[in-house]
């Protein structure tokens, strides 16, 4: 390959100036003529039947234009077992906060007041809240027994082979189990017999929220022609359109989904959530309607990460070979299936070459807010378990944590738990890179006086997704280039597309602009989930740019009377090296768009289907300092290596790495949705659901590893998700290093850490100064 001119450089986002000036329009910023404002009435019980709803007083309230309940939903092929289709409670409410009715009014205040005028009579039913109790025989049901659960969206999100799973058994189990996977290799009991060291434990990662700064928002307008236009931050506008068409019984061509700027999604803005309801209000009122969730509503009623409880056991020989792994993860998915076990069950045991393994993943439904996808769904939860067990093997066997992992990690050709060989991956290379990090090289200097400090290591892998994608690359009238895609940019990927097109066409960055068009006008693209947008969409952009390039070369060849093979493009000029024959893109544009022009306009088309995954892997180390008086854990240093195949835009990759690591540090330190005995979230404000601040997150030593993927553009592989996998486990291992104690629950809040230190007699000033009463 010739030397790359654009790809591989660290470049700022093309939309940056718009964002720093506040000009970017998010859905909540929109105003349309005649627009109404919506508010939602939510069920006050975790599980109840609705006996009667009376909306007459609300409808009569001045300023109210429409009130809807489930009765107003148009006839359609809805599947109420999945969250997007459960637009409004149809008879049975299954979590506290589920939408029962909604009002559209002239102002948001009026809409909110009208909610109080809606009369609802409920019959409360027994609630199922504990996932481990929910799967026992005799447990009440989360809902009346369901038919088949539709997994199509889940399968589209993460593509792993589930054919090896004996999930048929799931159908014979409790209806509270929505999903079960089981992978077996070898004979796990025999594996433990071969082991000299066996460690086990029960690990519990609590429910966390994506906590994007932009609350869920939507504007919908159903016009007089029967056309529905929806403006909403979405990670997959075609996916949403497809779902909404089915949910509302509308033909696809009558829906235009306009993906607005996504103010953070991380998986929670994939499937429709409030969009069908907003649309319904517009259909009912005939006017544009805006619905924006409050932060409280968003924290309580969106699609957070499930809680993951892992019981697991690992065996190793005294020379440091991992022999066997047995693990079971129970995901508390709340009221709706999220498909979390589909990826996380297999990946729990996928990093290591176990001869014998037995891994099981169970998704349990409870009467809490339904879970969804959160960046590498389920992976921080299962990694919190297995990486602590591997660390414990190192402790007990006296092995260096990086050396032991290097000895045991999978490489190309080693088998995944589903029996398929790993493609080329860079996990080993990530460990090598971590070993060379400044943090690791200076790890022994860390422990000098003061509070206890420790360093922990953890690794992870994520297969990522695949989905066909298409793109268009066209020439503008002045010879500049426009890239048009249908994927939604949640990661700066449009800047990377810009770079790919510039590279392929031989033009500088400033001559190219990439836009995401709406579903009416954009070529199809899959959802921005599974880290696949650059991997699959980038390939389509590359193909479209190559197509446009061929057209440009063909025109130049005739105009310059030269062989196409002799032509070179640089800086937007086509020329024959060593001659004075040249023609600019601007001139070519003139030859293709004027009256009587001789050539067709340049429009490149790219459609690509990638059929092999390009997994991403990571190896991370975290240094912590523990305050033995308060239990507070401070993360002092982090090093994170990730294999991205090829960093198209290094600035963007570093941003993804630092951001993902930070989110998992939050899962490890502070972030937890706390529920009361009725399944209601007790901390639905950012004061109590605490995100890390600039004072909590240290500089992260981000290390880019590049083991090219065979199919991705320029060798790129997935990048967005792997960074979130490992840090909570690494914190726990660092705490073990610092205190000699294992921590089995995440987040490791000061309360939990102090309690554990006290149990072990390692807290400073044991209940003397504070007194027992303080606890």
């Amino acid at each position: 390959m010739t030397e790359l001119k654009v790809v591989g450089k660290p470049l700022p986002r093309i939309e940056g100036p718009e964002k720093v000036t506040g000009q970017t329009v998010y859905a909540a910023d929109m105003q349309l003529p005649g627009m109404l404002h919506a508010k939602v009435l939510r069920c006050p019980y975790p599980h109840a039947l609705i006996k009667r709803i009376d909306t007459s007083k609300a409808k009569a309230y001045p300023g109210v234009v429409a009130v809807v309940t489930a009765e107003d939903l148009p006839p359609a092929d809805r599947d109420p077992s999945v969250r997007p289709h459960a637009v409004l409670v149809e008879g049975e409410a299954i979590f506290e906060g589920q939408a029962v009715a909604a009002v559209a009014a002239e102002t948001a205040y009026i809409a909110e007041e009208a909610l109080d005028l809606i009369e609802v009579e409920y019959e409360e039913l027994p609630a199922v809240l504990d996932p481990e109790e929910a799967i026992k025989p005799g447990s009440p049901f989360t809902r009346r027994p369901l038919e088949e659960i539709d997994l199509s969206e889940i399968e589209g999100h993460v593509t792993v082979d589930i054919s090896a799973a004996d999930d048929a058994e799931a159908h014979r189990r409790s209806p509270n189990i929505s999903n079960r996977l089981h992978f077996v290799r070898g004979n796990v009991e025999k594996g433990f017999e071969e082991a000299d060291i066996i460690v086990e434990g029960r690990f519990d990662s609590k429910m966390a929220h994506q906590a994007y700064l932009e609350p869920q928002a939507c504007v919908a307008h159903y016009d007089a022609t029967g056309k529905l236009t929806i403006w909403t931050p979405t990670q997959g506008q075609f996916h949403q359109r497809n779902d909404i068409a089915r949910i509302l019984g509308l033909p696809h061509e009558k829906i235009n989904l306009v993906g607005t700027e996504v103010g953070g999604g991380f998986g929670a803005k994939v499937a429709p959530l409030i969009q069908p309801l907003t649309a319904l209000l517009s259909m009912k009122s005939g006017r544009p309607v805006k619905l924006v969730l409050t932060r409280r509503e968003d924290l309580m009623n969106s699609v957070p990460a499930p809680r993951g409880i892992v019981q697991a056991k690992i065996g190793a020989t005294k020379d440091g070979r991992l022999t066997a792994f047995k693990g079971r993860v129970i995901f508390d998915s709340g009221a709706f299936p999220a498909g979390t076990p589909v990826g996380a069950t297999m990946m729990m045991a996928a990093c290591y070459k176990f001869d014998h393994l037995d891994v099981e993943g169970i998704e349990v439904l409870t009467n809490k807010c339904g879970a969804g996808a959160y960046r590498a769904p389920g992976m921080p939860e299962v990694t919190f378990a297995i990486e602590q067990l591997v660390d414990e093997v190192c402790r007990q066997g006296g092995f260096d944590p990086i050396e032991l992992r290097k000895k045991n990690v999978c490489r190309e050709g080693d088998l995944m738990p589903n029996g398929r060989p790993w493609p080329k991956i860079g996990l080993y290379e990530c460990l090598e890179a971590l070993e060379q990090s400044e943090l690791w090289q200076t790890r022994h200097q860390a422990k000098n006086g003061g509070k206890p400090r420790g360093i922990g290591v953890a690794i992870g892998a994520w297969p990522g997704g695949m989905q066909p994608a298409s793109a268009m690359v066209k020439m503008n009238e002045n010879g500049t280039i426009k890239v048009v895609v249908g994927s939604n940019d949640i990661s700066g990927v449009n800047t990377s597309f810009n770079m790919i097109a510039a590279e392929e066409l031989g033009v500088p960055m400033h001559m190219v602009t990439t836009i995401t068009a709406d579903t009416d006008t954009a070529p199809y693209a899959g959802l921005a989930a599974g880290s696949k947008t650059l991997y699959s969409g980038g390939k389509a952009v590359q193909a479209a740019a190559q197509d446009a390039r061929r057209q440009i070369i063909a025109i130049a060849s005739r105009e310059l009377d030269a062989n196409p093979e002799d032509l070179v493009i640089e800086d937007g000029v086509v020329f024959v090296p060593g001659t004075d024959k040249s023609i600019s893109f601007q001139r070519i544009a003139g030859l293709t768009m004027g009256f009587g022009s001789r050539y067709a306009p340049v429009v490149g088309r790219g459609g690509e289907v990638i059929r092999n995954q390009a997994p991403g892997t990571t190896a991370q180390a975290v240094e912590v300092e523990v305050d033995p008086e308060t239990g507070n854990v401070t993360v002092t240093r982090v090093a994170a290596a990730q294999d991205v195949g090829k960093a198209i835009n290094r600035l963007s990759i570093i941003g993804q790495l630092e951001g993902g690591v930070t989110q998992c540090l939050g899962m490890g330190l502070t972030e937890e949705m706390i529920f009361d005995e009725r399944g209601r979230m007790r901390n639905p404000v950012f004061l109590d659901y605490r995100l890390l601040t600039a004072l909590d997150v240290p500089r992260i030593e981000a290390i880019i590893v590049e083991v090219p993927s065979p199919e991705g553009p320029f060798g790129a592989r997935i990048a967005g998700e792997p960074s979130i996998i490992a840090a909570s486990a690494a914190i726990a291992n660092a705490l073990r290093d610092a205190t000699g104690l294992r921590f089995y629950e995440a987040p490791m809040t000061p309360e939990r850490v102090l309690r554990r230190l006290r149990e072990a007699g390692k807290a400073v000033r044991q209940p003397v100064a504070l007194g027992e009463a303080a606890l």
Binding site: P12, E214, G263, G265, G655, E658, L691
Partner: protein
């Protein structure tokens, strides 16, 4: 009903926004953020939480950064307000904005206006801050995408450029 009462009672707020006097007649139970976003269509400041925890609605009132969501609109009467829309002048980005773009100090962009406004106000008063001081200054602004270091880098760079005379 409340809304009717409120609808009848209006209040005129004499506020100067980004250097321009903007008398606004509005309902008294609005927040300052709603006045800016809805009455004046200045949607740069965002509502990320509505409870003063995230800083996405940060505006500068009489030289001090405040959460626009926690201030009632009538409290702006007689005050001078700077919003993100007033930071860039003459089509040229402020050094804070320029550095945020160049150095990866933004991703999804929803928290960005709050960071910009907070930082511009802070750096005007503290031209030579340390990294730790910058971290304290932006501790009231939450970002979910970046992990903060790129923002800190950008603000250190912006401070340097402002000292070298690029500020206004």
């Amino acid at each position: 009903m409340l809304q009717e009462r409120v609808g009848q009672a209006t209040v005129t707020v004499h506020v100067t926004v980004n250097g321009v006097p903007r008398p606004v007649t509005t309902v008294p139970n609005r927040t300052a953020l709603e006045l800016l976003r809805e009455d004046l269509a200045l949607t740069g400041a965002k509502e990320g939480c509505g409870t003063g925890d995230c800083g996405a609605c940060t505006i500068v009132v009489d030289g001090r950064p405040v959460n626009g969501c926690l201030l009632l609109a009538p409290m702006l009467d007689g005050k001078t307000v700077l919003t993100v829309e007033g930071v860039a002048r003459g089509g040229k980005l402020h050094p804070v904005q320029q550095a945020m773009v160049e150095m990866g100090g933004l991703q999804c962009g929803f928290c960005t206006p709050g960071f910009v406004v907070t930082a511009v106000n802070y750096l005007e008063q503290h031209p030579n801050p340390t990294e730790d001081e910058i971290r304290v200054a932006i501790a009231g602004n939450l970002c979910r995408c970046t992990g903060y270091s790129k923002i800190v880098d950008a603000l250190l760079e912006a401070a340097k450029r402002m000292r070298e005379g690029e500020g206004r």
